[in-house]
């Protein structure tokens, strides 16, 4: 197989995969390095990459993070099942697409407008995108190929993505579970010992109780809070 779409860095403004002659896979098929293959073949290659490359990470997008549709619960459960079978896998979400300035917390989230920041900072060498709307997935995958050496897997509920190294189309929860089985099989073949463990929670979530937050907690910024009518603030930090 000739690898057409490969890990980067392909450089600033690389040719898009369609420009390199890659077409979306027909129904029932998948894409692997820009070639049409069976979903099983693409999943096996993706599984090996996730098992052998550094810091495998799953990037769930808005379509699986938010409870907007009946099948979300099933899909999100399947994604967590998959994540718990990949050794040291992390989950870094892409909750929405709004730009984050002046600075994004690269440990806590990934943004489609500059996904390379999260990937480079966390030294991620293999990742899975799932539940990201296609137009943003295309943008993100191409940027990752342009600026990083990360292996990308696109699990898409629609037609798949040419820019990813491995792209599975028409994804349902059952396909994610099948992918999980393949990961386990490949893991056993590689002789990697791993006990099913859920990925760690988001690192931006320190334990604090905001329900007891008082104006004094704002310290010197207290003056920025607008007092309620009749409120007299004497308590300062």
């Amino acid at each position: 197989m000739t690898k057409i779409v490969t890990e980067g860095p392909a450089g600033y403004m690389p040719d898009s995969a369609p420009m390199m002659g890659v077409e979306l896979a027909p129904e029932g098929q998948a894409l692997l390095y820009g070639n049409v293959v069976t979903p099983e073949e693409a999943m096996r290659d993706a599984a090996i990459a996730l098992l052998t490359k550094d810091n495998p990470t799953i990037f769930p997008g808005p379509q699986v993070l938010w409870d907007w549709k009946e099948d979300v619960a099933e899909k999100s459960a399947a994604i967590l099942d998959l994540a718990s079978e990949i050794p040291n896998c992390r989950i870094i979400p892409m909750p929405d697409y709004r730009p984050k300035y002046p600075k994004i917390d690269v440990k806590a989230e990934i943004n489609p407008n500059h996904p390379n920041l999260t990937i480079l900072d966390n030294k991620i060498k293999a990742c899975v995108f799932v539940g990201v709307h296609c137009h943003y997935a295309n943008l993100t995958l191409r940027m990752i190929r342009a600026g990083t050496d990360c292996y990308t897997v696109a699990l898409c509920a629609y037609m798949g993505h040419e820019e990813a190294m491995a792209s599975i189309r028409d994804l349902h929860a059952s396909d994610i579970l099948r992918f999980k089985e393949i990961v386990i099989e490949e893991r056993d073949k590689l002789g990697i010992k791993w006990e099913t463990t859920l990925p760690p929670e988001n690192p931006s979530l320190p334990k604090e109780d905001n329900s007891t937050l008082s104006p004094a907690d704002y310290g010197e910024y207290r003056s920025l809070i607008i007092s309620r009518k009749g409120e007299h603030v004497a308590e300062v930090e």
């Binding site: 999100s76 979400p93 002046p102 988001n202 905001n210």
Partner: protein, 298 residues
């Protein structure tokens, strides 16, 4: 675009960044203005917090106020265009659409109509928030025509009287004689009469103001949204100074806004009878709901 879109799927909540968890738990979604509104800004998780605007930017404050005043943030879409404002507006936790070269009102026309067709049983608010250049210069024809067609959405003009984002060119809304970096000889024609144009074009609720009073400014924003839902186009021209291009020291920004209240931005509120009817009805309903809640608590 509905509460469902900001409800995390059960198993993923622990993987969401703190920012989002706080938005869900302490944000204004699905809450009343008393629980999370302009009256208690800073005491709940606001829709827009971080932004790359200049220090002392009065526009950033007003944008924060707009988002705190939204009657239904979970059912709202904002549309903006090139300019300083969209840098903050696009970062808010409310869907934002970027209109190219001042076409925000044309886009809002289509979006409002689409929402009414797609969700006839729901109330969706469309608000265009753009600068004076985007609304009255570059986007002038699209702004005017949306009003002439009677499109039901709210237009908010962040009037800083200059093209602040591109280095200080004079805009149609700059006052006559204003000397700016890219207009060193001073602007040689009068400030455009935006509210008069809005009236002539058929806006049913029009306000010109310098938003120094939070309660009043919030009330105006909400009135404009409520009227736009039922009657027709509404327009707010708000003074949001550019302290950089007009060289206003940061500590004097508020004093300048106060001064403008007595100058070019005297408070002027116009409404048609139909708009007045809606405002009176909605505000009476809100008052009754407040009273009922108080009685329940007592």
């Amino acid at each position: 675009m509905s509460l469902k879109y900001i409800t995390p799927s059960e198993r993923f909540k622990r993987y969401l960044p703190k920012d989002y968890v706080e938005l869900i738990d302490y944000g204004p979604f699905g809450k009343t203005q008393d629980e999370a509104g302009p009256g208690n800004m800073g005491q709940f998780k606001e829709l827009v917090e971080e932004h790359p605007m200049c220090s002392g930017c009065w526009m950033a404050y007003y944008i924060r106020l707009i988002f705190a005043s939204l009657p239904k943030p979970e059912e709202t879409v904002t549309i903006g265009t090139a300019g300083c404002g969209r840098l903050a507006i696009s970062q808010a936790a409310v869907p934002f659409i970027y209109g190219n070269y001042g076409d925000q009102n044309a886009m809002a026309s289509g979006l409002t109509r689409a929402f009414r067709l797609r969700f006839p049983d729901k109330t969706k608010d469309v608000i265009t928030i753009a600068g004076d250049g985007g609304t009255m210069d570059i986007g002038f024809s699209m702004t005017m025509h949306s009003w002439i067609r009677g499109e039901k959405f709210t237009t908010i003009m962040l009037d800083n009287e200059v093209y602040g984002n591109t280095g200080g060119q004079s805009s149609g809304m700059s006052p006559k004689g204003a000397v700016l970096k890219m207009a060193p000889l001073g602007k040689d024609f009068e400030k455009m009469p935006a509210t008069d144009l809005a009236k002539a074009a058929g806006c049913v609720y029009i306000v010109r103001m310098s938003p120094t009073n939070i309660k009043k400014a919030a009330k105006v924003i909400r009135r404009a949204i409520f009227v736009a839902r039922e009657v027709g186009p509404t327009f707010i021209q708000a003074y949001t100074s550019c302290n950089i291009e007009y060289s206003i020291p940061t500590e004097d920004v508020f004093a300048d806004a106060k001064a403008q209240e007595k100058d070019r931005f005297t408070f002027d509120e116009y409404m048609t009878d139909a708009a007045k009817e809606v405002i009176e009805r909605v505000e009476a309903e809100e008052k009754a709901a407040k009273k009922a809640k108080k009685a329940m608590e007592a």
